[in-house]
């Protein structure tokens, strides 16, 4: 395969980048829920909260911080207050009691009453302005009757989601339960901050079609090798993209030819490459046949496993590069040392594209001698680059056993780019710096990187994206899969005309094509880590209705 020709001939997809909405945006949780309201002694308020929180754990996926926990009688919503007072006249003056909200998940009524009993309102002390309809006595210092604490539970509805505006907050406060409006809260609990999303979208948009076309090339390569299904992944460093763009502005020329420089690693699916129990792999069984016949159906027994999916392999390539680098420069040797009891993920030999992108800037250790570190700064030199004094460039390969384990000899570097003009004597085959940050340079997992995929990743790989700390994940709408983990709704979108949008949900419900789950896993408020998710809608995709017709498998 002529890798450089493949790259030169890339034909960027044409279309637009659309943020994948979060599941909370597409399917707001059921708006209202039942709750209890109980009148308690105002002096016990903090104890009441402690007791409630200790006894009834909150549902972390259901933050209810927009609801006041207490309300004085006079700020109860009039309907609720009327309902309460119709059941029992006020026992005490307003200053003596307060109403506490018990929100879902609702505890058992008897348990709740027992828990709150110690905090029941004092029997009538000085009810100055209440008409004495009961046996109250206006005795300030002693009580005529022994305390008989009772807790009455009243029902109300509460809004589960924070209000989106002040008007909504006021309406709820007047009809359901006092609500706090925090302008920042509504979106931040259900979706990424708009500024963050916008910035990422703007940075992705110009080159997304290019990187996705590369992902498809990687996918083709995987399919044609017989080693896997036609799925590809491309990991890109937006910081390098930015430098390319900056160079473009400064020099005033088109840098399209440089875009591949921001690619740190590519990987294709390799699910048929693994030999299990010593038996031949699917790829070996069907050697020379492409696509692999196993890809015609979904038979779990011959699907390899998710660690052989494109995303997982790409993540592992970055990790492997760092492990190799750490061994070479001796940094963190103790943690990077291979432990024979923990075998590395068995990977097939790297494909031409995989090897090219992973190792293209790896200094050619067979020729390194004197000055590679002084080679001209590539225009892509990283802002955050922190030259490593123990660079692998100084290491003698003959003494390093790990060199023998390199799956591929380092490939020659690509031809000098048009912008490396500086010093003609400089060895153009030794670029200034590897583009993957080593651990000693602060490189950590896939933090701050973007990943472009030819297909919607499966749930396992979608979570792999989060665990690897990617900034964003992008796939083409045409690559949606029923088993995917990122989509949050059936296909509707800015490219569909209004008629389509209106018809879509009904149509899909009728023909039953949309029974897949929509997990929107890229950004779930319940999870500790989140990424920005984007779909690439190619021009003409308005007609792509759903995942119907896509093959069924995990990408």
């Amino acid at each position: 395969m002529d890798v450089e020709k493949t790259i030169r001939d890339l034909n960027p997809l044409v279309g637009q980048v659309v943020p994948i909405r979060t599941v909370q945006e597409t399917r707001p949780a059921e708006e209202f829920a039942d709750a209890f309201v109980a009148e308690v002694n105002v002096k016990s308020a903090s104890k009441v909260i402690k007791a409630l929180d200790a006894a009834f754990p909150k549902d972390p996926s259901l933050p209810l911080s927009h609801l006041r926990r207490f309300a004085k009688r006079e700020i109860l919503p009039p309907p609720l207050r009327a309902a309460i007072e119709s059941q029992s006249v006020p026992l005490a003056g307003p200053a003596q009691t307060i109403f506490v909200l018990i929100s879902p998940p609702l505890p058992d009524v008897a348990t709740l009453k027992a828990l709150l009993a110690p905090f029941a309102p004092d029997p009538p002390p000085a009810a100055t302005n209440d008409p004495p309809t009961t046996n109250e006595t206006p005795d300030e210092t002693s009580q005529s009757y022994p305390p008989t604490p009772t807790i009455r539970l009243h029902h109300t509805k509460i809004p589960i989601c924070p209000p989106f505006n002040a008007t909504q907050a006021e309406t709820w406060t007047k009809t359901l339960w006092p609500v706090v409006f925090n302008p920042a809260a509504p979106r931040s609990t259900v979706a990424p901050p708009p500024q963050t999303l916008k910035r990422a979208q703007e940075s992705i948009e110009p080159r997304a079609g290019y990187y996705l076309s590369l992902a498809r090339k990687v996918a083709d390569e995987a399919e044609q090798s017989g080693l896997g299904r036609g799925v590809g992944a491309v990991i890109v460093d937006p910081a390098i993209e930015e430098e390319i763009t900056t160079a473009e502005y400064e020099a005033g020329y088109n840098t399209t030819a440089e875009w591949d420089q921001a690619v740190l690693a590519v990987a294709g699916d390799a699910r048929y490459s693994r030999s299990e129990a010593g038996a031949p792999s699917q790829a070996q069984l069907h050697a020379g046949v492409a696509p692999n016949p196993a890809s015609k159906t979904y038979n779990a027994d011959v699907e390899g496993g998710p660690e052989l999916h494109a995303l997982m392999r790409a993540v592992e390539l970055i990790a492997r590069w760092r492990r190799e680098h750490d061994r070479l420069d001796g940094v963190s040797a103790s943690t990077a040392t291979a432990d024979p009891s923990k075998p590395e993920l068995k990977q097939p030999e790297l494909s031409a594209l995989e090897s090219y992108f992973l190792y293209r800037h790896r200094p050619d250790t067979s020729t390194n001698t004197s000055n590679p570190l002084q080679s001209p700064s590539s225009p892509l030199k990283r802002k955050h680059e922190d030259p490593n004094p123990e660079s692998d460039l100084t290491l003698d390969p003959s003494t390093d056993p790990s060199q023998a384990q390199l799956p591929h000899p380092p490939l020659p570097a690509p031809p000098p780019s048009t912008v490396v003009l500086a010093d003609s004597s400089a060895p153009v085959t030794t670029p200034a710096a590897p583009r993957i940050r080593t651990r000693s340079q602060g490189g950590y997992l896939c933090t701050d990187l973007d990943v472009y995929l030819s297909h919607e990743p499966c749930l396992c790989c979608s979570m792999g994206v989060l665990l690897s700390r990617f900034r964003s994940v992008i796939f083409p709408r045409r690559g949606r899969l029923e088993s995917g983990g990122l989509s949050s709704e059936p296909v509707v979108g800015p490219v569909a005309d209004e008629l389509d949008q209106a018809a879509e949900p009904g149509a899909s419900a009728v023909d039953g094509q949309d029974e897949r789950g929509y997990y929107g896993l890229h950004w779930r408020k319940e999870l500790n880590w989140r990424a920005l998710g984007f779909e690439f809608v190619e021009n003409g995709d308005a007609k792509v209705k759903s995942e119907a017709g896509m093959p069924v498998f995990h990408a």
């Binding site: 010593g278 979904y298 779990a300 027994d301 496993g305 998710p306 979570m463 792999g464 029923e482 088993s483």
Partner: protein, 199 residues
Amino acid sequence: MEFKGNSVEDSRHGYFMKQALLMGEKAIQSGETPVGCVLVHNDQIVGFGMNDTNRSMNGTRHAEFIAIAEMLQTYPRSALQSTDLYVTVEPCVMCASALKQYRIRSVYFGCANDRFGGTGGVLSLHSDSSIDPSYPVYGGLFEKEAIMLLRRFYIQENEKAPNPRPKKNRELNTTFDNDNEEAPQTWARLNLPLILANH
């Protein structure tokens, strides 16, 4: 499911979970988040796993994947359909999906995982409908032991945290020393390589 430890079946589960805990113990000794697991096929342990994210520098190398890789050296993938997993912490969303794709027979776990759990903690992928069959999950077996492992790890982690990272961060540290908002962030960054929270 209640594990009372008073029947042959319970002591069998207990035995395998103890083996998983031993793997968690091994993890903590190698500076990994202490999650361990074993795969059991025909009453035999056919795969051992512990978290391997720090050493491998790959945040997806969870115990389950390590154990499966070991098992597949001697068994075909189809054997997972008659294999049970014993894992000290509820499988995360990633592993819960992987186990489903691999068609595990059933999963026994120690403590729940309400941050990443994929079998009830956050999502319930084991029982959601999908192109693969559901699998049953039983939690709470040696729960306290599993939690203690995690606690020991996080305490120990504080002690040996901030050495390997260089000057950059030290500067950051002094710069934001008195800034309450920044301080925890700096701390977290310093600790990153060790807190690859897992599972």
